[in-house]
Amino acid sequence: MSTHILKRLLDRLRDGGPPVRTDGGTAAAGSETAGGDSDVGSALSSLRESDAVRSAPFWLPPFLLMGFFVYGAISWNIVISLTDFGGLTLPTYDPSTFDLEMYRRAFSDGQFWIATRNTFVLLISFTGLSLAGGLGLAILVDRGIRFENWFRTVYLLPFSLSFVVTAVFWRWMYNFDSGLINAFLRGIGLDFVASKWLTGSIDTGALGAIPLVPDTFYFKLFAVIFALLWQFSGYAMVVYLAGLRAIPNDQYEAARVDGASILRMYRRVILPQLRASTVSAAVVLMVFALKAFDFLYVLFGSNPGPTADILSTMMYRQAFSANEWAYGSAIAVVLFVVALTVVAPYLYGEYRRGEL
């Protein structure tokens, strides 16, 4: 069966690609008969001349490098997480000693759950708010305002800055005495709103009785989310803008002729067509959220404290400060699984729709 596919594949390559299908229907199978009478010998010689083999110098080296350094490293990390590797003695890697001890330890570690909770809060609120902000900006910019290109550049610019830069100046922005945010709030007479954004908290009072609402609400993680939002909503805007530009003008006109209000037009006609933009922007943003490590590390060092600790900072501390290599690996595997659950549905969806 597989040789059959292979042969047909080679035939197809020789024929120079798939037949053109102008109507979107099934093309007539012209290649079926063309390859029908070729024997095994000619199939081998055509294998040598096939694109896949002749292009091997181009795709094979990166394939092997990726396989070794990315997938090899991931597999090795999983192996380490099954050992008891700690301190400065190498483990034996004897499969009979492999166990899930480190995962058990993680699941019974309060700090791990705090970091997991923060990771998900960061992931969900950052992605959701970035998408909303990006969509809003994209619609505004798409309304044909003056200096459109200029605004587009301004909004996208933060995206080009490194986390290290943005983390340092957001630390200055959040300074209670001299930070820009509090200076602004005081300037417009809102002194009582000015807060210690990185260490402060408010008592949620009666709201604390609602499930999932904490008694004390710490600003720290949301200060981080806000800074990341500032940096990444420009990216979401660009993705949405491309999506908006792909929608033909006729549809706007038709909606207007039918008497739809602007709100209704966007809600019923435009937004449903931005699904693909939303999904692809969301995946990229989620992956950025999982990589927020550098931002936190520059802001607070390797230990941001329970109010902003995420899995990646915890993994770093356990592995590189405490020498608990196996435990750090186990946390890394959990983080990897989280990343997979973010990316996999997207990839599967694309695959289902034949876009991959």
Binding site: R12, L64, F68, F176, T199, G200, K220, N303
Partner: protein, 455 residues
């Protein structure tokens, strides 16, 4: 099945399958080294092994010193100038030893520590490296990665008489000498701005305990100044501060007992000292959460704040500030309640096993333990020598006073935050405890976190 019309279209999926299959096969062949295709590579790797062996033989049989490789994280500022002075001195004494320094900057040594661990695990250590001595080296001694240098190094230069007990204890994390301390930064300091405390009417010298410092800060606060210039952006300064409070309020014995793991036996002391730190936090600057220790220290220099607790590296900033002079503008007392104690933060150079240059390393470590080395290094670094017989001429007035305090100290407690008293895993857990503590100042939670960190 393959003849159905749909499968006629050889999709991208099929390409991927084939590519994946071919890739996996190649990859597996590469891993197992069993296939014909890999014979060649196996041979070539065999060749390279044999060349390594011969070159190894060559270097072993030679009687000259092997090249010395020393790693450190002093890449700039005071530390950079100091370590260059040290290396110059060594090269003057040993022109026959080739010295390569291999600095790794960043992360207050965290980056270098990662490099060293990797090299030790790969059995490829440098000749020596900058390391906190004491319990910080415990993972190395546990894995038997450090060599005993009692005879070869500590037996020279009268080292055992010249070093006080505290530094000697730190050089023996597992009961034998494996490292040579080079410098000491004191941790039980309280710096203050002279004008501010005079204006507020507080006499720092009369504050006799950490709890009395709370009252002094309240007085300063009423006079309109920040009581204590502390940073809470990251947890380490608070870890340091808590240790000095425990030391000052309850003494060196309780401190040593707590760091040895007996937290429960000293539960009241630990709780109370955490509570004192909590009271201090009322007098921190408003922006404590978003500043570094240098920013905090600037508040002393600018006259906004009265007191500052930090290691004595903070004095380096005063030294660099024109018109801000010792005793007239800023001054120093031992942290309240810790008079007669000299709380240690040290750097040292250990001797790894499987050393690439055993003899040259011993020569280097003997030099590090000598008067000449410590006299060159420490004035530039702004630290004091662990040897008590180093002449004071090269040091400024502040460091001379510190050296006198050190020579006359009754005990030299080992630092927690800088790895001398607790092993790295306990230190990480302790830092977690402090990171939680500065976000909510929950004394009870911090107590149980410290207790589980040290046990």
């Amino acid at each position: 099945m393959t003849d159905t019309p749909d499968s006629d279209d050889v999709s991208r999926r099929t390409y991927l399958k084939l590519a994946g299959g071919a890739g996996t096969a190649t990859f597996l062949a590469g891993c197992t080294g069993g296939g014909e295709s890999t014979t060649e590579s196996t041979e070539s790797s065999g060749d390279s092994e044999s060349t390594e062996e011969t070159s190894g033989d060559d270097s072993d049989s030679s009687t000259e010193y092997n090249a010395l490789e020393v790693q450190h994280w002093w890449t700039g500022g005071d530390g950079g100038a100091a370590v260059q002075a040290l290396f110059e001195g060594f090269e003057e004494q040993h022109p026959d030893i080739e010295l390569t320094e291999n600095p790794v900057a960043g992360g207050a040594g965290q980056n270098l520590r990662a490099v060293i661990k990797k090299r030790i695990l790969n059995n490829d250590p440098p000749s020596s490296w900058q390391a906190w001595p004491g319990a910080n080296l415990q993972p190395f001694t546990d894995a038997d990665k450090l060599e005993d240098i009692e005879e070869s190094v500590w037996g020279h230069n009268d080292m055992k008489n010249a070093y006080l007990d505290g530094p000697q204890e730190a050089a023996q994390p597992a009961g034998n000498y494996v490292s040579v301390p080079l410098n000491i930064h004191r941790l039980n300091n309280l710096f203050y701005n002279v004008e501010v405390v005079e204006d507020a009417g507080v006499d720092p010298a009369s504050i006799d305990s950490p709890s009395a410092l709370v009252d002094a800060m309240a007085t300063v606060d009423e006079a309109g100044y920040v009581g204590m210039a502390q940073q809470t952006n990251s947890a380490w300064s608070t870890g340091q501060l808590w240790a000095q409070v425990l030391l000052g309020e309850y003494g060196a014995d309780v401190y040593a007992d707590v760091t040895a793991g007996n937290v429960e036996a000293n539960a009241d002391a630990v709780r109370d000292s955490l509570d004192i730190v909590k009271q201090y936090s009322e007098y921190y600057p408003n922006d404590a959460g978003s500043i570094s220790w240098q920013d905090a220290n600037s508040k002393i220099i600018e006259g906004d704040a009265a007191f500052f607790h930090q290691g004595d590296w903070a004095a380096g900033m005063y030294r660099g500030q024109d018109g801000f002079e010792y005793e007239s503008n800023w001054d120093h007392v031992p942290f309240p309640g810790t008079e007669g104690l000299y709380s240690l933060n040290m750097d040292s150079f250990p001797m790894p096993t499987n050393n690439p240059s055993p003899e040259a390393t011993k020569a280097f470590l003997r030099y590090v333990g000598s008067v000449d080395a410590q006299e060159r290094f420490n004035p530039k670094k702004g630290s004091i020598p662990p040897r008590t017989d180093v002449p004071q001429d090269a040091f400024g007035p502040f460091l001379q006073n510190q050296m006198d305090d050190f020579s006359n100290s009754e005990a030299q407690p080992l630092s927690i935050q800088h790895g001398l008293a607790v092993a790295p895993d306990a230190l990480t857990a302790f830092e977690d405890a402090m990171a939680s503590f500065i976000s909510n100042y929950d004394v009870e939670a911090a107590y149980s976190a410290v207790q589980s960190a040290f046990q």
